[in-house]
Each structure stands twice: as C-alpha cells, then as structure tokens.
C-alpha cells in the first residue's frame, strides 16, 4: 500500500514516455516502452541464454575477487595500524583516479577476454567493500574490547567474537553498493570490446539502428542489479536477524 503512489508515478511515467515516443515516432532515437517490451520478448532467448550468462559471469567473478581482496586488505589494516596509516590515504586518493577512464588500458593488458571486464568490475567495487569493512572492523569501542580483555580474552577471541560480528553490518552496506556498481562495471567493460554480454549486445544493436533492442538488455541489466541487491538484503537479514529485534 505504501508504494501505491510510487507505482502510479512509474505507470504515469511509462504512459507519458509511450505517448511521446509515438509522437516523435523515431524508434531508433526513442523507442517506446511497449516496443522495448516486445523486443525484449522477441530477444528473450538470445538475451537470457547467450548474453546474460556471460555478463553474470563477469559480475560474479568481479564481486568475488573484490570481496576477497577487499576484506583481506580491510582485515590487514585493522590488525596493523601502521599498515592502516600507510594504505588508507592511498585508498581514498585512488578513488579520485577516474578508474573507468583506465578501462581501455585493461583491454590492452588482458585482451578481449573476460578478464578485462572483471578488472573493471573489481576496480570499482573493491573500494566500497574495503572501506566499509574496515570502518566496521574499527567501529568497535574500546570499552567493549577492554571488557573482553578483563575476561582473559586473546586478540583472536576479540577479533572473531567482537570485531567480525561488529563489522558485518558495515560489510553488508559496502556489499550493497558494490553489487550495484558491479553491474555498471561489467556493462562498461563490455562496451570496450567483447564478443558477448548484455552491454555488448546493447551497443551492437545501436549499430543496427535498433533502438528498442538497445534498451532491452539495459532493462535486463537493471533487473540483474535489483535481483543481486535483493539477494544481498536477504542474506543480510538472515545473518543480522538480531537487528530486526530492536
């Protein structure tokens, strides 16, 4: 019920779009929602069987690598404050490099393989995971850690029984951002040279002057993003079920 208004706005927007598209009547420049939907249906096999798996593969590989790399660096920084002092500023500064502008270089390094896409995805998803996990690991308060110490806890006890559960909500916040970015990363990677994938397909349809088919894979990508996001949210709810109790 709460979202009736949103729903109505979306429907209104679609209708407006449909009407303007029909008035302009240049499907190549502005396809109508209906045309896009029909094209999506016609292309369903190509999109879902040929291109989606490829894109999903780079997203999943990119995310996995990001998570491994990101949490490893976050843990390393949280365990050693001189590492932290050295690396953290670099991490922050590195975000100022428009890494996406480097994407074409990856093609040179990795060729037109999946790795150039994975590299783009890792480069843009790795930062939110690292920073959030690190912030989470350092969000513990001294009082609590000292309470552990007075119980005779070792550093390892504190890390596993306090820091990690403490960091989990932050890790999930980072992951939620990363998931969205990974879709964008894979799409960008696929623009730059690929033989398959939704981003590639969208671009290719542009060269075929097929406006509706340009949008169709973008819609699929959007749903991939939403689905991944929902998955993470569910996982989060299950792992942090205590949070719903407050």
């Amino acid at each position: 019920m709460r979202n009736t208004a949103s729903f109505l706005i979306v429907v209104g927007f679609l209708i407006l779009w449909e009407i303007s598209a029909r008035i302009i009547d240049k499907a190549f420049i502005l396809p109508s929602p209906l045309q896009i939907f029909i094209r999506l249906w016609e292309l369903k096999e190509v999109l879902f069987l040929d291109h989606l798996p490829i894109t999903l593969l780079s997203i999943v590989m990119g995310l996995t690598l990001s998570i491994i790399l990101g949490t490893a660096i976050a843990v390393w920084m949280s365990l050693n404050s001189s590492v932290q002092r050295a690396i953290y500023p670099i991490l922050i500064a590195s975000q100022m490099v428009p890494v996406i502008a480097l994407a074409p270089i990856f093609v040179l390094w990795f060729g037109y393989t999946i790795w150039s896409k994975v590299a783009v995805a890792v480069l843009i998803t790795f930062f939110p995971i690292t920073v959030n996990t690190f912030d989470g690991l350092s969000s513990g308060n001294k009082d609590n850690e000292e309470l552990f110490l007075t119980m005779g806890a070792t550093k390892k006890d504190i890390f596993f029984k306090y820091s990690i559960p403490m960091a989990l909500p932050h890790f999930f916040s980072g992951l939620k951002v990363a998931v969205t970015l990974s879709v964008i990363g894979a799409a960008i990677g696929e623009w730059l040279g690929a033989q398959a994938g939704l981003g590639y397909f969208s671009r290719r349809m542009m060269t075929q002057f097929d406006g509706a088919a340009v949008f169709a894979p973008i819609i699929v990508l959007t749903f991939v993003g939403i689905l991944l996001f929902i998955c993470v949210t569910h996982l989060e709810k299950r792992m942090l079920n205590w949070r719903t109790k407050s």
Binding site: L108, Y112, R204, T207, F209
Partner: protein, 305 residues
C-alpha cells in the same frame, strides 16, 4: 563574419586523413564562405556515430559506408539517404602481421578478427571465408572500435577488417611493421561504394540548399585537389590537429595517390549509380545481412551539376 552564413556540420568517418583533403582545401580557399555556409567538421567518437547522428539530425551530414545505409533503411525504416559518394570502390582490406602466417581467408579459421563494430564487416569476412571454403563459425569477431591497427600490433587480435589499403597499411609500414592484407573483392565480395555522405530525409527536406551548396564548394575543391595534389596535401597538413591527429606526410602522399582515381571513377566526383546500389543490396541479401527485401526507394540523390 558573414551575417547570414548557414551552419552546416559534417561528421567524418574516421579521424582526418587524405580522403578529407578536399574539405580543408575548400575551407582554406573560402569556397564554403562563397556559398554562404559555415562548415563544422566533427570527428566520430564511435565508428557508427556518423550515420547515427546524421539519422538523428544531430549533424547535417555524415561520412559512412554504403551497406550501412541500406541496412538502416531496410531493416529499421530509418529515413536516410546518400547525397554523394567520396570513394567509389573498395579500400577496405583484411589486415594482419605477416608473422601470423595468414595467406588466405582459410587461414582465418580459429583466429580472432577485430572489426569496428559495424556488422557489415562480419558479413565480409564470412563471404571471404565461404568463398575460400573455410568455416566462418570458427572465427571470433571482436569489436575493437577504432583500435584496428593497434589490436593487431598489440596481438589482441590476429587480423582486423576495415583497414584501408591507402592509410593503415602505409602507416604500419612506416612504423616498421610488416603488414599483410587480403582484398575482399578477391573473395566474393562485390565492389561497392567505399565512402559516401548521408543525411536524414528530414534534414534533406529542410536544408537541401545548404547541402547543395556544400557539394558545389566540395566539387570545386576536389578539382583543385586533382590539379594540384601536393598543394592539397600541404593544406591538409597545415590544418592537421598535430596534438590530436598527427599525420605523416609520406603516408598521406601515398594515400592521396591511391585515392584520387577512386574518387572520380566515373568521371564525376560524388555521382552515384542506381546499379551499384542494387548490386550491393543483392550481395547483402545473399550474405544474410538483410532479412527483408532491400528498400532502395529514395536511398540516394545526385546533386545537379
């Protein structure tokens, strides 16, 4: 300067090179100004942008490839038309480095071939291979955008289609590589117009006079260029954007000598023949590029002399 000059824009097919000399000559000699137009030359960020933006009306004209115009018009009902040819026969070859050991289209089997993202190139390779009795399915085609030469030099692709015999090959040789090439017309691909100028039907309806003015100036410049290629080249080099698109004099000189005869094959610069359009469309239908019957209705107009 002139109060009532009309703005006309043209998007090149590639970064500027010898083919575009006449534009700079006309500019230099003030022919456009005489015709009352002010020309804005744009370079594409994407090999497919010239036809796309011309069709969308974002530029007055775009320099593009003949089969693309047929695909746009036939497959998607996009109202575009060609208003003149620049290069009347193919320059497009499949290029590779000699170390790859490629000798004929059969050797493409199992290889990776780069192209600019224009689907027609895939069909060309397919036709070449089928003519040579090879299996096209074993080839991986990758969209490399503008990086045709660099993709084979950096060994990201074994060969690339869309390289020009007058430009990329001399350039690679100049850089010290040993490029080899195969001519598609030797392997079943018909000869068609390599480069032509398109506009959208809407633009044609609204700005026909400007386009005609453009062509008058262009023709005049082409005549000058034909009469004195060295001067034209000097103009091109003078106008080159050194930082962005450095040109090499030797390469462009050789390029121009290859180009000049091809730009006036039937004696008339810019003139188009309905027959060439039909031959091209036939091949495209055979090659599977067209799923519908070719729509050549109003696909080109010839400027009055």
């Amino acid at each position: 300067k002139n109060e009532d000059t009309e703005k006309v824009s043209i998007m090149l097919d590639w970064y500027p090179n010898a083919v575009h000399s006449f534009l700079y000559v006309a500019e230099e000699k003030g022919y456009f100004e005489e015709e009352g137009i002010e020309l804005d030359i744009q370079f594409p960020a994407n090999p497919t942008d010239p036809i796309n933006l011309a069709a969308a009306g974002k530029v007055t004209m775009g320099i593009t490839y003949q089969p693309d115009v047929i695909i746009a018009k036939t497959e998607q009902d996009i109202a575009v038309k060609s208003v003149g040819v620049l290069v009347q026969s193919p320059l497009n070859h499949v290029g590779f480095l000699n170390d790859t050991g490629i000798k004929s289209p059969k050797d493409f089997e199992g290889k990776t071939i780069g192209f600019t993202g224009i689907p027609l190139n895939e069909a060309m390779v397919q036709t070449m291979m089928e003519t040579d009795g090879a299996d096209f399915n074993s080839v991986t085609m990758v969209d490399v955008g503008f990086e045709l030469s660099s993709s084979i030099v950096s060994e990201k692709a074994d060969a690339a289609v869309g390289m020009y015999i007058n430009h990329e090959f001399p350039m690679l040789e100049y850089e010290g590589y040993q490029p080899g090439h195969l001519d598609p017309t030797d392997f079943g691909v018909p000869s068609f117009y390599e480069l032509l100028v398109v506009t959208s039907d809407d633009t044609w309806a609204n700005e026909q006079e400007n386009i005609e003015a453009f062509w008058r100036a262009a023709r005049k410049a082409f005549d000058d260029m034909e009469a004195n290629p060295d001067e034209a080249l000097a103009t091109l080099l003078k106008h080159q954007d050194k930082a962005n698109f450095p040109l090499i004099e030797e390469v462009e000189k050789e390029s121009l000598s290859i180009l000049l005869p091809k730009m006036k094959e039937n004696g008339k610069f810019g003139h188009q023949d309905a027959e060439v359009w039909e031959v091209t469309a036939d091949w495209m239908t055979k090659a599977g590029l067209l799923t519908k019957e070719a729509n050549l209705e109003g696909i080109f107009v010839n400027m009055e002399e």
